[in-house]
Subunit: 135 residues, 2 copies
């Protein structure tokens, strides 16, 4: 066990990790009420989140721990953590800095079904300026 | 293709189904703003949801299509459907009848971390009266 998770094992009780040792996490901005993203945590990410009050996740594509905001500065200050009835999904209520989505939208759920997946809302930052021209 | 999904294929565009042909769905009560549950849809469930405006899911444990409210009467009238930036998660904004959780709580996320997973909020219905004494 890493130092970062020392003493935080109690939060793991009742959590049902999936076959990859992960749990999906719904993230809601506490003030606005908007669901801004869904990501995944492993035990280390949850322990670090609890300890630092900054949301950490496990990137399934990059296969590594990830501090939300480490590149963009768009951190999530965690206000509260909820577990669902089945123990297989978490909900974080956060104070989202600037925007949650890497596309520049406030929420990752910026496309609404209206005969097509239509972008709604406005971009709040320029993703190229923040992340560079990654392809 | 079943009749129920006839003509509704456009909504599938841009959706990345997981290895089991499913997509996680975050459900938010539009009026209250609360995240009330997370469930999974397959293509048939999404097509039926779009067609009927009543949320349908695919139960991973029972391995079958499921109309939310079919037993309890606690239907979800779908107001809008959002897709996230990666195309791998949906968000439904709904009008939730009575309560979302089979435990009797309004939201499935009724346990908040406070040194233990502490139930918060109040039960709004008696789950034994609604579902019977299933064990």
């Amino acid at each position: 066990m890493s130092d970062s998770s020392a003493g935080s094992d109690a939060i793991f009780e009742g959590i049902k990790w999936d076959g990859q040792g992960l749990i999906p996490v719904v993230v809601q901005d506490e003030k606005a009420g908007d669901v801004v993203m869904v990501a995944y945590m492993n035990k280390e990410a949850l322990a670090l989140t609890q300890e630092t009050k900054r949301a950490h996740y496990y990137s399934r594509s990059r296969k590594k721990l990830w501090l939300k905001g480490e590149t963009s500065g768009h951190f999530q200050v965690v206000k509260s953590i909820f577990l669902d009835c089945d123990g297989d999904t978490l909900l974080l209520k956060v104070d989202q800095t600037t925007a949650a989505c890497h596309t520049g939208y406030w929420s990752c759920f910026y496309r609404m079904w209206d005969n097509t997946w239509k972008p709604v809302g406005e971009k709040v930052f320029d993703e190229h300026a923040v992340y560079g021209d990654r392809t």
